[in-house]
């Protein structure tokens, strides 16, 4: 009995040790599982490949000397890098500009000389070091080629930059022709992305339009002159001038790869002919992300689909109403004010865009430095004011102000026919305005604009560089706005704009833009209508999408959890 007890005690000790060991193992396993769970939650494995869908296509090519379209820019900024860039989520303020290929910069007191210190040790994808010579080469090339289709001419880069000088291997200096406050914004613009001279050579003895790098079937590397961005162009297929598939592959030499970028190593882009095809592909799960252009109806429907995530951001696209001011009736500011007062923006935003746009009371968009709600003072709508203003000029219910409102019909702008109908209804609600509608496809509309035969007409604007100047100078400056053909000119306005362009002090610029917007209301040179929203749709496991006013689609930040 005793022996048995002793044996039992020994056994009990052994069992106890085993039990403790077992508990410890269980605890370790549980801790491991829990730890793994938390690790996975905090650092989930990411998908190696994302499939994006779009209705866009590269319009001409991927050479910053010619490219001047939304999607072309989207790809250029994935394949290349600028001197400076906007941080994700930016409101477009100059304070949001962060170093990229330039680590620091300074401007001379007269605003005419900008000096950039460049990041050292940056390698092109072709394994050659990036230096100040490449910056000079890029700008000399873009200005020298002077492609009429390109942004260098469109924005007038050659009218701003006088020369680019290499100070040393890592220091470059820009001499400007005019003081230009938005210069840093211009440097972040996709047209100013640095090209690799090896892939953008000069064929003859001087730059010509034939030096533009074009799409070459089966040669994606030779089809773009970039090489400092987060991605390389692995493949690109186009049929009859439209993209059919594109794949991006992480650039192992990207200067910011130390930061863990790009988060998704491979991106495939599928192209759809229209928004319904894109929406169907997103709903069917064929693609991970759909960006540009989904219809408002599709976005509304997708908001209630639990398998999808709708991303909403600030858009930079605006639309506005122009009036031909060389002839009656719009050669009279009071009539223009009366029309502005009778516009019901709520109806436009709610009826046409189902709330996926913002009412706009200034040409400078909401969320951008310098924006004021200037046009709200005229009413939204204020029919009493419209009637009073028109009564002073002899218009009333029996003698209505009659004019023709033009709109385009080929989808160049979103839902133009619906916009025109809502505007007509809103204006006629005043009881003293009668509107006839006239439409043309974009090509004919463009000609009609130049011929100055349209009385009132709707136009739209995607910005180039993100600065109030890009929303003011091209519209109400007598030379900058000549392309609109609305024949508005006011020397006081010109003076204010030129001061604002040249002044590098934020406070002073803010005050000048406030004055400019007030003067725009007084003259009612142009009537802002709405600001488009920016929308993307993705599967629920996708993250890292930023839709800010810069309009930059940052492929390198987007990822999906496995």
């Amino acid at each position: 009995m005793f022996a048995v007890t002793k044996m039992n005690l020994n056994d009990a000790k052994a069992i106890g040790k085993v039990a403790i060991a077992g508990v410890l193992i269980v605890v370790v396993i549980i801790a491991g599982v829990v730890g793994y769970y938390f690790y996975q939650t905090q650092n989930p494995p990411l998908k190696d490949r994302l499939i994006m869908g779009t209705t866009d296509s590269v319009e001409s090519c991927l050479d910053p000397a010619r490219a001047y379209d939304f999607f072309g820019f989207e790809i250029i900024q994935s394949l290349g890098s600028p001197l400076v860039e906007y941080k994700a989520g930016s409101t477009g303020s100059v304070d949001d500009i962060i170093p990229a290929l330039a680590t620091s910069w300074e401007v001379s007191a007269d605003g005419l000389t900008w000096t950039f210190n460049l990041r050292q040790g940056v390698m092109f994808a072709s394994e050659r070091e990036f230096t100040a010579n490449d910056v000079k080469y890029t700008f000399d090339r873009g200005i020298g080629i002077a492609d009429p289709d390109g942004a260098f001419v469109g924005v007038g880069v050659g009218d701003i930059i006088d020369s680019v000088t290499v100070v040393s291997k890592y220091v470059v200096k820009f001499q400007l022709k005019i003081p230009f406050a938005a210069f840093l914004s211009l440097m972040a613009f996709q047209a100013c992305y640095i090209v690799d001279p090896e892939y953008a050579p000069m064929a003859g003895s001087s730059w010509s339009i034939d030096d533009v790098v074009l799409y070459e079937d089966g040669n994606s590397r030779g089809s773009n002159p970039m090489g400092l961005g987060p991605y390389n162009l692995k493949s690109w297929t186009r049929v009859a001038g439209k993209d059919t598939e594109m794949t991006l592959e992480a650039n192992p030499l990207y200067w910011n790869s130390v930061g863990g970028y790009p988060k998704t190593k491979n991106i495939t882009i599928n192209f759809y002919a229209d928004s319904s095809g894109l929406a169907l592909a997103m709903t069917a799960g064929d693609i991970d992300v759909a960006f540009r252009q989904l219809s408002t109806t599709d976005i509304t429907a997708m908001k209630s689909n639990h398998d999808l995530k709708v991303w909403e951001g600030t858009g930079a696209f605006i639309q506005y109403l122009c009036m031909q001011q060389k002839n009656a009736p719009f050669n009279n500011a009071k009539i223009r004010q009366a029309v502005a007062a009778a516009i019901d923006r709520s109806s436009l935003v709610d009826t046409v865009f189902q709330g996926q746009a913002e009412k706009l009371y200034s040409m400078i968009p909401l969320g951008m430095f310098g924006h004021t709600e200037a046009f709200e003072s005229l009413g939204d709508p204020n029919y009493t004011r419209t009637r009073e203003l028109l009564a002073e000029l002899g218009y009333n219910e029996n003698n209505k102000l009659t004019f023709t409102l033009w709109y385009e019909t080929s989808g160049h702008y979103p839902q133009s026919p619906q916009q025109a109908l809502v505007l007509k209804s809103s204006l006629e609600e005043s009881g003293v305005i009668s509107v006839n509608l006239e439409s043309r496809d974009w090509a004919a509309y463009r000609t009609a604009r130049q011929e100055e035969i349209m009385q009132a007409y709707i136009l739209g604007w995607y910005p180039d560089y993100i600065d109030p100047d890009d929303y003011i100078f091209p519209f109400v400056h007598s030379s900058g706005g000549s392309w609109i053909h609305h024949n508005y000119a006011n020397p006081e306005m010109d003076k204010l704009i030129e001061w604002a362009r040249g002044n590098t002090t934020s406070t002073a610029r803010q005050s000048l833009y406030a004055q400019i917007q007030d003067l725009m209301v007084q003259d009612t040179a142009i009537i802002p209508l709405y600001q488009g929203g920016a929308y993307a749709v993705s599967k629920t496991n996708v993250d890292g999408i930023y839709l800010d006013i810069t309009q930059n689609w940052r492929h390198w930040l987007v990822y999906a959890i496995q």
């Binding site: 009429p148 002919a273 169907l280 592909a281 064929d286 090509a443």
Partner: protein, 343 residues
Amino acid sequence: MTLRTYIVSRILLTIPMIFILLTTVFLIMRVLPGDPVLLHFEKMENPALIAEMRIRLGLDKPLPVQYVDYLIGLFRGDLGKSMQDYSSVGQQVFSAFPATLELAIFSMAIAVLIGVLLGVESSKAYNSPKDHLIRVFGIVTYAIPVFFLGMILQMIFGVGLHWLPIGGRTYQTMVPTGLNIGSLHFSTGLYTVDSLLEGNIVKFGTSLKYLFLPSLTLGLALCGIFVRLTRSNMFETLRLDFVTAAKARGLKDSTVTYSYALRNAFLPVLTMMGLQFALLLGGAVLTETTFSWPGLGRYLIDRINFRDYTAIQGVVVVFGLFVSLVSLGIDLLYAYLDPRIRL
């Protein structure tokens, strides 16, 4: 008239037809409002640059000179350069044409197959509920807009069942290379044919998978006319003496219907196939958009928006030649089948 004389005269007739077509398009495009030069200057207008662009595009010359220049280029086999992106129109057109051709061939095959089979069944069951049902089907598919039908099929087979892709022609790694023997390379641009030439059955399957929905859409849209035509012709043929005689000899019903009656009733269907090819190309424009099919139809629409005169002319020439060739082929087949046509 011998068959050879007939062929030569038909080919010679094709030349003035293309010439008239081309001249009409050349003039209409230039009469239409819209200037291809201005479309290069959306955000700015510099008169000197506009004038330079006009010279670059050859639009500074008088209209007759432009016309003669274009014709000279055409005789050299040069379709000119695009006025929008300066690319070679010939290259662009011929890169997109195989996709349209493949879609057209499969669609026509589906249209004829469904149309003839249903037409025969309808004629055999004359005035029965089956006949009425088939007639209604024919009318509905004929009347339904092709893009709407396409979207319904996309919803069912793409979104609902996940069986077939929503759009596109294939994906990057599945593009067939065609026949490769040593340094010899041959491809047609038709993915189904090229994948077979390559001997890759997976690529063939993938090509068919992508081709099926657009072809079915266009085929269904066109089959209605074949249903009605086959039905009415078969209805008359089935009552002719030779059919009764064949039946009296104890031949199987299917042999009498398909080998005897349909062979006779098929001639008008053949004629209609030729005529429908032109309509099919028109339908392909919408189908290509609905299914993001990278064909010539989409290219044409795109270029019309840009008033890209040379590109539009190029597409019209190729479409015209294609329709003429198909029509010629059908006529020759007809002449072969029915010697009376040559008399």
